[in-house]
């Protein structure tokens, strides 16, 4: 079996002096030799723990060169990595550490350990501390060749761990490196957080091609002016980001002040790019090529669409998500329940092939529900609605169910409601997402509190202790009662009328 990190080791051997990581936040960089040496130190420390092959090691680390070295070190030790969101509430991370049965958590030395499930650190390596978990390791079936686990929002309030094998990740990474012609001369931004699937391209696509990774912290990634100055200063050639961030560049990036002439390609994914915003971006980056990539965490990127050269078409509707990547097949689940593996008509998009996940960690029932068998293949049901256009390209047509996208993240509105129902003063709550061009512009909460309205800050603070920041609602509306349908369910249509 090929390993996800194989070519990164090759780069370290071939070009040890090349710059692997630029980290402007601390004004330092790491060569491939240094990256490898750090990773190797972590590998040796992990090997001393004699964990079974493929065991899960969680990372509780700020985005930093050490975090990248840790990922590499974990994979080199034949273990799988699970990146936690350090900005998520402790309760959520504690749940993930327990549910995943992660054996070890790699982190900075902490004055106070926020996770009761962890014992005191069992050692330090390369400035990191290793904490052993007391979570019981039993009964979990991990797939062979597991490389990483990424947690996504779950509708019942419980996040789900998407398990991806080396083989599945490599299907995408090898293709992406060839398709986007990544070379050691390239500098790639690393904008996505490590627990977000866009980071797979940055880390493994970029480093396996010998590129320089421009590692950005979460706050740097939200500052288009800073990003604009970095693109010029570090000679960025390739950007992979969500439309939410990219569309801020024309208005707030002051691109006229900076030289972005080295930028040769812009990849976007995670949500629909509204055309006016895309055109504005193409205007400031008129020499770059643009690509629309699509795929849920469960499949990684599974379809793609290269945009026509800037200024050569006058398309008014968002661009297609395009054609299946060569390692995957797509099919359409029609409304009548039939499946068409010829790409025609409209319905829910199904994906089968090399990049599809091995399942949800410890959730065989949810895994079964997410898959369907057809023509002796197993297909992942994306929950995304598509339509095939006259060119045979897939057009994204929205979501099935109550999942929405914000800043590229998937959000199950049910997860926010589940968190609100833990608030004592709230008797009932319902969430609605206000959508514009198939992207969330605001999340509204309607709630019933017998004692009267609650301050916005109080509600936000409460939720911030339970759900990640990107899920926090924008508006709270107090109602005497939540409208219900005749079957005693929340009447979301009636709520929509209130907006």
């Amino acid at each position: 079996m090929q390993r996800l990190h194989k070519d990164i080791l090759q780069q370290a051997a071939n070009n040890p002096g090349g710059v692997a990581i630029q980290f402007p936040f601390e004004k330092r960089n790491l060569s491939y030799r240094q990256l490898y040496a750090q990773a190797r130190g972590i590998t040796l420390a992990l090997e001393r723990l004699s964990l079974p092959k493929g065991s899960i090691v969680a990372l509780y680390l700020d985005k930093s060169p050490e975090a990248i070295a840790a990922i590499l070190g974990i994979l080199m030790a034949e273990l799988a990595y699970l990146p936690l969101d350090v900005d998520a509430p402790d309760s959520r991370n504690q749940f993930i550490i327990e549910q995943s049965q992660a054996q070890v958590v790699l982190t900075r030395e902490m004055a106070e350990n926020p996770f009761p499930v962890l014992s005191s650190p069992s050692g330090t390596v390369e400035g990191l501390a290793l904490y052993r978990s007391s979570a019981e390791a039993s009964g979990l079936k991990l797939p062979e060749g597991l490389a990483y686990v990424l947690y996504t929002s779950g509708s019942t309030g419980v996040p789900k761990g998407v398990m991806v094998t080396h083989t599945a990740a490599l299907a995408f990474v090898d293709w992406a490196r060839d398709t986007f012609v990544l070379r050691p001369e390239d500098t790639l931004t690393s904008i996505a957080p490590l627990h977000f699937d866009l980071s797979i391209f940055d880390i493994f696509g970029g480093l396996s091609a010998g590129c320089t990774l421009l590692l950005l912290t979460p706050s740097e990634s939200k500052n288009p002016l800073l990003l604009s100055s970095y693109i010029a200063e570090y000679g960025v050639t390739t950007i992979y980001a969500t439309p939410t961030l990219l569309q801020l560049m024309p208005r707030f990036g002051k691109a006229g002040r900076y030289n972005h002439s080295q930028l040769r390609q812009v990849l976007f994914a995670g949500e629909v790019f509204p055309i006016p915003a895309l055109r504005a971006l193409q205007e400031i980056w008129h020499t770059a090529k643009f690509y629309n990539l699509y795929g849920p965490t469960e499949t990684n990127v599974c379809t793609w669409h290269p945009l026509p050269p800037t200024g050569t078409d006058d398309r008014q509707a968002p661009y297609p998500i395009g054609q299946p990547c060569p390692y995957d097949q797509c099919a359409v689940l029609k409304e009548d329940g039939s499946i068409s593996s010829e790409l025609t008509g409209s319905g829910e998009l199904l994906v089968s092939g090399a990049s599809v996940m091995a399942g949800y960690l410890g959730m065989p029932e949810q895994t079964r529900q997410a898959m369907v068998e057809h023509e002796e293949r197993v297909w992942y049901k994306t929950g995304d609605l598509v339509e095939v256009d006259s060119n045979g390209d897939l057009l994204y047509r929205g979501r099935r169910g109550r999942m929405v996208k914000r800043r590229g993240y998937r959000i199950e509105l049910g997860e926010i409601e589940a968190a609100l129902h833990q608030y004592e003063a709230i008797a009932q709550a319902a969430c609605l997402a206000l959508e514009k061009e198939q992207s969330v512009s605001a999340i509204w909460v309607f709630y019933v509190a017998p004692e009267g309205p609650l301050p916005h800050t109080l509600l936000t603070e409460f939720l911030a202790g339970r759900i990640p920041e990107y899920m926090l609602p924008d508006r709270f509306v107090h109602l005497p009662e939540i409208p219900q349908t005749s079957s005693q369910k929340t009447d979301y249509q009636a709520l929509k009328q209130l907006l």
Partner: protein, 87 residues
């Protein structure tokens, strides 16, 4: 310099439409730390400050530390105006 704050209050409440009642917006209300103002609202505020007070933010200055409350924003604007005059 009370007029800077008055203009700011008006902008935050009526233009950015922050989820606050006017009486809840005190001079030391923490806008970013208390998650009242999200990152896009912060960027719009920067744009507004640059236009209204004829100042220019450097890339590293677009941070919560400079935008977190009416007091902090006013101090930052004053400091920028002074250093612009000195230069």
């Amino acid at each position: 310099m009370a007029h800077i704050k008055a203009q700011l209050r008006d902008y935050l409440l009526n233009e950015l439409n922050l989820p606050l009642q006017p009486e809840e917006l005190q001079d030391d209300t923490m806008l970013v730390s208390d998650r009242i103002m999200d990152s896009i609202s912060s960027l719009m505020l920067v744009e507004y400050l640059e236009k209204t007070f004829n100042i220019s933010f450097e890339p590293h200055e677009v941070t919560a530390e400079n935008l977190d409350s009416l007091n902090i924003i006013e101090a930052f604007v004053n400091q920028k105006q002074v250093s612009a005059k000195a230069a």
